[in-house]
């Protein structure tokens, strides 16, 4: 608003007084929300369980609900990856959004058409990956972090066959070092393949001019962040369809 208002003369003065128009709105909304909060607090008590007992681990132990997406990722990736690397990249990914999205349209108003891919990507990351994993973690995970229906009895002795195997093993590779090399190759291929696909996609959807204006730095940052984001559904798919545990197995890290 600031620039455009200064650059051009305002054709119409669409400004209204903060008092009473905005203040009135804020007051009313605050009032309603506080009434709602009070009713909620009068009817539902905050939980308080038995006193802390470090020798008695509950099964399942769940993180606070807003972190259950991260805990759910532990099913598919090791803790250093799901708990440290991916959260960091989520934050980095959010921070870079204003710098990789150079589309001048849709600044200050709702519009879907001009920013279709940006919005779809955000919704995929936020609503599908983040919110849905939280819902799964909250309502569909029971003892042993096994899947249960919300209405199903939490059987602590439920036996789930551990049939997961590593991808190289699945493909018949038995030698340790060949398997590691293959894993490295598979992950490298994933990234390179993704970047190639992304290049083709941007070229097709946005055109060559756009790509030149956008620049290699933005293209690469966006591509890598998206590749990491898509690695979660990719791994989910491999796990659910083929029981794949790890793709890369080394003495130091497994992915």
């Amino acid at each position: 608003m600031a620039e455009s208002a200064q650059e051009r003369k305002l054709p119409v003065d669409d400004k209204i007084h903060t008092w009473p128009h905005l203040v009135r709105m804020e007051f009313l909304v605050a009032l309603f929300v506080l009434i709602g909060l009070t009713i909620w607090s009068l009817t539902i008590d905050a939980p308080l369980e038995e006193p802390a007992n470090p020798t008695k681990t509950p099964n399942p132990s769940k993180a606070p609900w807003y972190f259950l997406g991260l805990q759910e990722m532990l099913v598919y990736f090791d803790p250093w990856h799901a708990g440290v690397v991916l959260p960091t990249l989520i934050i980095v990914g959010l921070v870079v959004i204003p710098f990789i999205d150079t589309n001048p349209k849709g600044n200050g108003y709702y519009c879907f058409k001009d920013r279709k891919w940006e919005i779809l990507t955000f919704i995929f990351g936020f609503h599908i990956l983040w919110v849905v994993t939280i819902i799964i973690g909250t309502f569909f995970r029971g003892p042993g972090w096994n899947l249960f229906w919300p209405w199903q009895f939490w059987d602590t002795h439920k036996v789930v066959a551990l049939t997961n195997v590593d991808l190289p093993y699945l493909l018949g590779i038995r030698s340790y070092w060949v398997a590691a090399a293959f894993g490295l190759f598979a992950i490298g291929a994933y990234f390179i393949g993704w970047m190639g696909f992304f290049y083709w996609f941007v070229l097709k959807v946005k055109g060559k001019d756009f790509l030149e204006r956008w620049g290699m730095v933005r293209f690469n940052i966006t591509g890598v962040i998206l590749a990491v984001m898509m690695s979660l559904p990719a791994k989910m798919f491999l796990r659910l369809a083929f029981n794949v545990k790890y793709i890369l197995v080394t003495p130091w890290i497994n992915i």
Binding site: H17, W19, H21, S41, A46, L48, Y66, V84, V95
Partner: protein, 256 residues
């Protein structure tokens, strides 16, 4: 002039009254501006705003409500702090005491808890709205970054508070949440490459967070200070920056 009006007049014209209130309540454009600019709280707003910015369907009120929830947790939190001791022997008993013996104790605790949860939901929705209106685009890139930091702080505020009741839910949820730190590459003793760095269970990222190798009384004190002092302080400063930048950069809207 009736006696009542005269009394009113005497009060309103008195030096004391005028020292406090700079203007009357007449509905004039000048007064409307004064209402906002002469009030320290209201003057966070500009004196005039564009029409679309007032509409609920533009902002969903989410930024403001996030702030409201923050204020509610601060107010109810102070009440709770009067009765709560962050010491392992007392913490749980104090919670029970607060729930059953303190006037409005349970209500304050509930409001604190639910407002914190609401704040998280609201801040997510706020971010989503800012994304949908493209309000992070120039010149507001920096405020988006401040927002992301606020988002992280909001989650950490809730997380550190989760431990304080010192019940089973608290310590195990925080244990699960903090085990990540143990797995940090290089910095955690169960993380990749730990053996090259020389971290161990009592000297790694999680031990730093916990104040020891295991979750315990030291962790409780640490989380209490983070929860009640450190993170709220940093968040308040960032909110001040956030609000100031909204004024500086101008509120987003369609160009005229």
């Amino acid at each position: 002039m009736s006696p009542l009006e005269k009394i009113k007049n005497d009060i309103v014209e008195s030096q004391v009254w005028k020292a406090i209130f700079r203007h009357g309540y007449d509905d004039t454009p000048r007064n409307r501006v004064m209402m906002v600019t002469s009030n320290v709280f209201l003057h966070l707003h500009p004196a005039k705003v564009r029409r679309h910015a007032v509409r609920m369907r533009f902002t969903w009120c989410m930024g403001g409500l996030t702030f409201l929830m923050f204020l509610m947790t601060a107010i109810t939190g102070i009440y709770l702090m009067f009765y709560y001791r962050p010491v392992a022997e007392y913490a749980y008993a104090d919670m029970k005491y607060l729930e059953f013996d303190m006037p409005f104790g349970m209500l304050m605790r509930n409001m604190h808890r639910w407002a914190a949860h609401a704040m998280i939901v609201f801040v997510w929705l706020h971010m989503f709205r800012v994304f949908l209106t493209g309000s992070y685009k120039p010149p507001r890139e920096f405020n988006w970054i401040v927002g992301v930091l606020l988002l992280v702080l909001t989650l950490l505020l809730s997380f550190t508070g989760y431990l304080l009741p010192w019940d089973q839910l608290a310590i195990w949820a925080v244990t699960v949440g903090s085990n990540m730190a143990r797995a940090s590459p290089l910095l955690g003793y169960e993380g990749p490459f730990a053996e090259f760095v020389g971290v161990n269970p009592i000297y790694d990222a999680r031990a730093f967070l916990f104040g020891g190798g295991e979750i315990g009384p030291h962790t409780l004190l640490r989380f209490y200070i983070l929860h009640c002092i450190f993170i709220p302080l940093v968040a308040s400063i960032l909110m001040a920056v956030h609000f100031w930048r909204i004024r500086r950069d101008g509120f987003s809207g369609p160009s005229l």
